[in-house]
Structure formats: structure tokens, C-alpha cells
């Protein structure tokens, strides 16, 4: 699929602010199934933008607006081509205990420091266990939205898994955090993915959509029959499916805080009006496309 993405963020402040420093993680990644052809960022008030690649391999754009200002606009445009990742491997459980698996898994297998959860997840842990790690991943993508309601405003940016369990509702970010804890407890390495989702109805029709930034996960699934390299497989517990060419990945990390799309701090009054909009447009003919 071929997309044009426009990610517009606008802040309007109640009074003059200064030293507004921000870090953006918004550039679509280039992976084996995705290519970012064009990428532009415009900041208003105008300022210099510097770039670096962070620990997790995500490109970070940093800028600062030192002088007093009353608004900030971050206008990001990208063109991305995605392709279908193909059928994932379906290796057996015993393959996740092999030494090669732990090596490929790295820190995405480390405990979450989730001791505070106690036995709250015991039921889900029992329910999610399926015949293979891949089957478990698929099952989890059903279980999480079955048990928890998708509701904006139920949680906030820094919400914990405990918070999701308490209110019984959350957004994609919370669903992913919960799924990551559950997968790691089963010995399956899993990481948080930030990006955009083409959320068009299955029967097509739309060629432009208002969306939002999205979160899903990648789990390390062992190779079929336990042979071959384990593969990172994208899965979207908010949408009950594996990630495919509708998912445009920006980057990954252990959790949200490793890949926040926009993070900033400024000097001045706390109150500000945020307007964020992501517009995705299909640039290729829609016939034959599968969402």
C-alpha cells in the first residue's frame, strides 16, 4: 500500500511561553516490509531541527524555541510504501526455551517489574495459553479487547497496567502494555510499536482518513518446526488481528515511554490547547487491496 501521511500537532498557550524543547519520534521506519520515500517536518515558529538515531533505532527529531511565543505547530509529512509481511512462522513452545531465542529476544524478554500486579492476571494467563506461541499471540489479540473496553479518556499518557485493570477500559497504548506483560510472562519476547494505522472499512471506498497515532506490538515467534530464526510478528490487540500492510511503523521500544511521538517541555503556564490530527491518504489504486 502507498500512503501519504500528514501528522499535524498544534499547541496554543494561554500566555507567552519560552524555551519550548521537543523531541519527535514520527518518521516512518524503513524495514523489510516498509519504505519511507519522503519525509518533511516544518516547525512554526521556525527553528533548527537536529536528528539522531536513538538506542532503539528510531529517528529522533529535536528542536527548541527559546524566545517567547504563544503557539507551536509541528507539521510532519511522509510518503510510505508498505507490503504484506506474509504468513508468520509457527514454531513450537519448546523453541522459546532454546538459547538462540533468548539471544534474539534481548531485553524484550526481561521482566516488566510488574510485581505490583500480583495475581490479577492469573486468569488471563491461563486463558491465553494456546498450542503454539503464535496461536497464543492470536488468542491474546481476541482476549484483550474481549475483557477490556476501548474508551478514550479512561486512562492517560503515563497510565500503568494496574490502572487499566482497575478501570476496565483504556486505549490502544494500554491494551499493548497489558499484552506485553502477558506475553513476557509466557516467555515470549514482545515489544511496543508506535505508528499509524490505515483504518478504512474493509470494502474500501475512502481514499483519505482522519486517524490518530496508533500502538500495537511485535512478538518474537520461533521459526516453524523450531528451525530457522525467530521472527518479530506484529499484532494489534486493539483490532483483533496481526499487523499487516495497513500498519505504518515508526519505531519500537520496551513500552510507550521509549517511543513517544511527541514529547516536550516548556517554560510558562501549564494550560495549553492541543490540536493533533493525522490524515492518511491512499496513493495507489484501491482495487484488490486488503485491509
Amino acid at each position: 500500500m502507498h500512503f501519504a501521511i500528514r501528522h499535524l500537532t498544534g499547541y496554543r498557550y494561554d500566555g507567552p511561553v519560552s524555551d519550548n524543547l521537543n523531541a519527535l519520534r514520527v518518521r516512518p521506519a524503513t524495514t523489510s516490509t516498509q519504505r519511507c520515500d519522503e519525509f518533511h517536518v516544518r516547525i512554526d515558529p521556525e527553528t533548527r531541527v537536529s536528528r539522531h538515531i536513538d538506542y532503539f533505532g528510531t529517528e529522533v527529531l529535536e528542536f527548541g524555541v527559546p524566545a517567547a511565543h504563544d503557539h507551536l505547530t509541528i507539521d510532519v509529512r511522509a510518503r510510505v510504501v508498505t507490503s504484506d509481511p506474509g504468513a508468520p512462522p509457527d514454531g513450537p513452545w519448546n523453541a522459546v526455551a532454546a538459547p538462540g531465542y533468548a539471544e534474539a529476544a534481548g531485553e524484550y524478554l526481561l521482566p516488566w517489574h510488574d510485581e505490583g500486579l500480583g495475581d490479577a492476571l492469573a486468569d488471563l494467563e491461563r486463558a491465553m495459553r494456546a498450542t503454539t506461541p503464535l496461536a497464543t499471540l492470536r488468542l491474546l489479540c481476541e482476549l484483550v479487547p474481549d475483557r477490556f473496553e476501548y474508551r478514550r479518556g479512561a486512562t492517560h499518557t503515563h497510565s500503568t497496567v494496574e490502572h487499566l485493570l482497575e478501570v476496565g477500559a483504556g486505549v490502544c497504548q494500554d491494551f499493548v502494555h497489558l499484552a506485553l506483560v502477558l506475553l513476557r510472562r509466557q516467555g515470549i519476547a514482545a515489544r511496543y510499536v508506535s505508528g499509524y494505522l490505515w483504518a478504512a472499512p474493509e470494502d474500501g471506498g475512502a481514499d483519505s482518513l482522519e486517524v490518530d497515532t496508533h500502538a500495537w506490538l511485535e512478538a518474537l515467534v520461533p521459526g516453524t518446526d523450531g528451525r530457522g530464526e525467530p521472527v518479530w510478528v506484529g499484532a494489534d490487540p486493539t483490532n483483533r488481528r496481526l499487523a499487516g500492510e495497513t500498519h505504518v511503523k515508526i519505531g519500537h521500544g520496551r513500552f510507550y515511554a521509549d517511543v513517544p511521538p511527541v514529547k516536550g517541555v516548556y517554560r510558562g503556564p501549564d494550560a495549553s490547547d492541543l490540536h493533533a490530527a493525522v490524515t492518511m491518504s491512499r496513493l495507489d489504486p484501491q482495487s484488490g487491496a486488503r485491509a
Partner: protein, 532 residues
């Protein structure tokens, strides 16, 4: 009157199996300590008690105090207890220690650089990667950043102990800008005033040039074209337990003492606000946890610190002492691998020994340790300052059971060590007589163009009879540490110190910081929408 029969030392005897620093097993003073013991005998218990009273009055008046931590958290400030009986190291002993420390600190510095770059030591199979990545002080935000001069551990303080057989061992490494050096300076000054007669037969190597060594090291790594790089001491504020030390160091180095609100980053350069406008800063001496230095990095929910500081650091426009991320090297589980690091990075045999340490992640090791918990010392990996330490032989059954449960729940967060028989040194009791008390030694190394260590360091002493916990936060005291002059050319810097500046900037008003972040909350996609 011979020293052995003087009232002050009457009945003093080393307690087997512990080695005593000043007395031999037969109860006679070791040769380097003979003149000191004679001088103490002349002073007598009354003289020592009187000098102690003068000491407390001076320390309280000067604010040289320490906050003690009891069962229910921090309690009141009390004068930092300086024991008036010094500890003596010969020139030869000191040279061995100094070389061993320099070797160790160089290896630790290599390790920090390696962890945030090539990870060669992991690829060689010497240190396991999950162990490093699992440390709470592993700082992903500074991955790939090499600081000015390649120096990370500008100030290091390894805690040394002397075992029963006289072997020096490293108990733990401290490379997150350890505190305590101001006590080394204050102690020497106080000793010279309170008990000058003790010095009369000795030539003790000076320590008062430490601030100049530190300033020279900071300037040598500061990214500045001219030699007059601007250095600041960043303190969390008067509420911090090390505030007095920050103020002393800033004053003696002749640099500004600043807080976060005095600093601002513009275009990847750090500035300090002064009455004359912004002034570029080239090097920062700090003792703040990484978590609280820059709200744009590290802790996502913190608004403390200086926004953009990591940016400036990444751009190479400022040196931070100690560098961000050094906490990965003084972790107690990583400690186990330091001898291997020395062999790997330097190709040398370690000159200083570790204490035998058990990592509890391995089920077999864990079982062995749980079986003999009563004989071992258990420590949490990420802590410092003696927090959370359980000493098996002196712990109750209940305490041992509790710690066993915590180990089983989170084995990676604990280590176990063999008990070290910390040496003792004669220490004044309340009536002025001497009694053996356990001591360790924390020398302070400064790493700039090279590694310098002022002679001696902070000898910490457990003031309670039999106790081996020397941390000042747990009721420990300190001793002046004498390294005897034996003709080795000393490293004293001769340049005069600049005139001291006022310790803080005028309090200019500035707004507070606010955070902005977006939650990821896209509505359900097609499938879920269809079902909803």
C-alpha cells in the same frame, strides 16, 4: 610511662581474627604507629575527651553534620563524628593501593564506554547482556554518546577493606560522583587544630589540594577552546544531604554553585543565568541521579532538572562529571565482573581483590546461598550507602527468612557475599579510652587527563562495638587518614586558588516547567468497529 601501660591504651588488644591497623597481634604498636601511641598516651583520656568537646562545638557551628537514617526514615542532623585517633598508612602501602585503584577505575571507565558503544565485552561472552540491560541504571538515553576526553568516571570512590590476613579488598565501587571528600578536607583541618601534638613526630602527606585536582580534571575534559573553561557545581539544593560538600567544593574551586533553575539549554549549548545575562558552561560537576537531570530523557514523569541537558551532552558542548549512565558500572551485580574487566580491557592481573560474590540469578548458586544465608552478607544490587544490607551472622531468624523470600521473588535484584573480617583501628570511646572499632577506606580518585588520588581518603568507622556497618547514614563516623611521607614526589598542585565567589546566584524569578505529551489512542480499526 610506657605507652602500653598508659591509661588511654590500657587493656587495648586486637580481637582475633580481626587485624588491627595500629597494633600488632601481641598488643604492641606497629612500628609506624609507635610515635602516635606515645603522643596519645601523653594526651591522656581527659585530653581526648576535651578535644572531642571542642570538635563537636566547631562542627555544629560550621554545619558539618549528617542526616542519620533510622527505622522510620531520616532523623535529625548531628555533628559528623570525627574520631580523633588517626589511621596510618605507610608510603609503600599507599602506592600499592593507588596503583590498584587507578587500574580498577580505568577498567570501569572502559566498561562504561563499551556498554554504550560496541559491547565488545558482551560479544566476548564475559558479561551477559541481559544482566547489563536489566540494571536500573543502564541509561539508554546516552547510548552512542562519547563524552569529551572519553572520560565517564571523573570522580570515583572505591570502598576498600582489609581482611584478617592483611589483604586489601574492594567492597564496592562508587562511580556516580560519590560524596564524602569534603570530610577528608575538614577532618585534616580539624585534627591540626584540635590535636596538633599528634602530628609532631610525623610528616603526613597533604590532602588539601583535592579541589584543585578536581578543577584541573574538569577543565581538562571541558570542550572549550581556551584554558578558562567555565565549570559549575550543580547541587539539588540545601535540602540535599551533600549540600555542604557541594558548597565547600564550589568555594574551594572558585566556581559557581548552581541549581537547576540557574541553568538553561539553548541550541544544544548549556548556559548559566547570571546578572549579566547568559554565560556558557563547559563542565558540570553534579551529584544527581540520572533520572532527574533532564525531563526530556530518562524518567518520563519527572519535570525536574534541566531540559535539553542530554541534548547538549550529545552535541558534545558540555562535559558532565560524572557522565550520565555510569551507574551501570558500580552496580553490585556488575561488581562481580570487575576483575575480568581488568584482564579484558587492560590485559593486566587485578592488583586489588574482590570479595567473593554470588549472583543469585543462577538457580544452583541461589540454592547454595539460601542454604548458608546465616553466614553471608546479602545486598540489593541497585542501592548504595549500605541501604537494605543484611549481615547473616548478626541477623535474626525472622530477618533471614524475610530476605530469603525476597531473593526467591526477585533473584536478579540481590547479591550475596562472603563476610569480610573488616580490620579494626583504635577509636576513642566516650570516656577517652581506646577500643577497637571496624574501619573501611574510601579514597577519592580524580580522572581527567590522568588519574590522581589524594593520599589516603575517608576512613569510615563503625562507632558501635562489633558493628561492621560504617556508612555515615547508618551511624558511622570517620577518621583522618594519614599517608606517611617517604620521599615519593607528591602530586600537590602549586597554583594558588582564585578568590572565592559568592556560593549562589541571586534568585531571579523564572516560570516553572510544564510537560506536553500525547497519548496514543487511535479508535478501533475496521474489524473491531464492525463488531462493536
Amino acid at each position: 610511662m610506657t605507652p602500653e601501660s598508659a591509661p588511654i591504651t590500657e587493656g587495648y588488644a586486637p580481637r582475633a581474627p580481626f587485624r588491627d591497623e595500629l597494633f600488632a597481634e601481641d598488643g604492641t604498636p606497629r612500628p609506624p604507629a609507635r610515635a602516635l601511641v606515645e603522643a596519645l598516651a601523653r594526651l591522656g583520656p581527659e585530653g581526648l575527651v576535651a578535644a572531642g568537646r571542642r570538635r563537636d562545638a566547631i562542627f555544629l557551628q560550621q554545619g558539618i553534620t549528617f542526616e542519620t537514617i533510622g527505622e522510620e526514615g531520616p532523623t535529625r542532623e548531628r555533628p559528623f563524628p570525627l574520631d580523633l585517633v588517626p589511621r596510618i598508612l605507610t608510603g609503600a602501602e599507599w602506592r600499592t593501593l593507588k596503583q590498584g585503584l587507578a587500574q580498577r577505575i580505568r577498567a570501569l571507565n572502559h566498561f562504561v564506554d563499551d556498554v554504550y558503544h560496541g559491547r565488545e565485552i558482551v560479544r566476548e561472552g564475559i558479561v551477559p547482556w541481559p544482566l547489563i540491560a536489566g540494571r536500573s541504571h543502564f541509561a539508554r538515553a546516552v547510548h552512542g554518546i562519547r563524552p569529551p576526553g572519553g572520560v565517564y568516571c571523573h570522580v570515583a570512590g572505591c570502598d576498600l577493606v582489609r581482611d584478617a590476613d592483611g589483604t586489601w579488598r574492594v567492597l564496592e565501587d562508587n562511580v556516580r560522583t560519590p560524596s564524602g571528600v569534603s570530610y577528608v578536607l575538614e577532618n585534616r583541618g580539624a585534627m591540626a587544630r584540635l590535636v596538633p601534638d599528634l602530628f609532631s613526630a610525623y610528616r603526613v602527606r597533604p590532602v588539601d589540594h583535592y579541589p584543585q585536582l578536581l578543577l584541573a580534571a574538569l577543565r581538562s575534559v571541558a570542550p572549550s577552546a581556551d584554558s578558562e573553561a567555565t565549570v559549575v557545581v550543580w547541587t539539588p539544593g540545601p535540602a540535599n544531604s551533600a549540600y555542604v560538600e557541594h558548597a565547600v567544593l564550589a568555594r574551594q574551586m572558585g566556581v559557581e554553585l548552581v541549581e537547576a533553575s540557574d541553568l538553561v539549554v539553548r541550541d544544544e549549548v548549556l548556559y548559566m543565568r547570571t546578572t549579566a545575562g547568559l554565560k556558557r558552561v563547559h563542565a558540570v560537576y553534579r551529584r544527581l541521579d540520572d533520572d532527574f537531570v533532564d525531563p526530556l530523557e530518562f524518567r518520563p514523569d519527572s519535570l525536574l532538572g534541566v531540559p535539553g541537558l542530554v541534548r547538549a551532552y550529545r552535541a558534545g558542548t558540555v562535559a558532565i562529571a560524572n557522565a550520565f549512565g555510569t551507574g551501570v558500572a558500580d552496580d553490585k551485580a556488575v561488581y562481580h565482573y570487575v576483575p575480568e574487566m581488568i584482564r579484558y580491557y587492560l590485559g593486566e592481573e587485578p592488583l586489588l581483590q574482590n570479595v567473593a560474590t554470588y549472583l543469585l540469578g543462577d538457580p544452583e548458586v541461589r540454592e547454595h546461598v539460601l542454604g548458608r544465608l546465616g553466614e553471608l552478607v546479602v545486598k540489593p544490587t541497585g542501592e548504595s550507602g549500605g541501604k537494605g544490607v543484611t549481615i547473616g551472622p548478626s541477623a535474626s531468624e525472622e530477618e533471614l527468612e524475610r530476605i530469603a523470600r525476597r531473593i526467591e521473588a526477585e533473584p536478579e535484584r540481590w547479591i550475596a557475599q562472603e563476610v569480610v573480617h573488616l580490620s579494626t583501628a583504635p577509636t576513642a570511646t566516650h570516656d577517652g579510652r581506646l577500643a577497637p572499632r571496624h574501619v573501611d577506606l574510601r579514597p577519592f580518585a580524580v580522572f581527567g587527563e590522568r588519574i590522581d588520588i589524594v593520599p589516603g581518603g575517608l576512613t569510615r568507622v563503625a562507632l558501635r562495638d562489633g558493628s561492621m556497618i560504617v556508612n555515615s547514614s547508618q551511624g558511622g563516623g570517620s577518621k583522618d587518614t594519614w599517608v606517611l611521607e617517604d620521599g615519593e614526589p607528591d602530586d600537590r598542585a602549586e597554583a594558588r586558588l582564585p578568590d572565592p565567589l559568592p556560593p549562589a546566584l541571586p534568585d531571579l524569578r523564572y516560570g516553572g516547567w510544564s510537560g506536553q505529551a500525547q497519548q496514543q489512542q487511535q479508535a478501533a480499526g475496521p474489524d473491531a468497529a464492525a463488531e462493536a
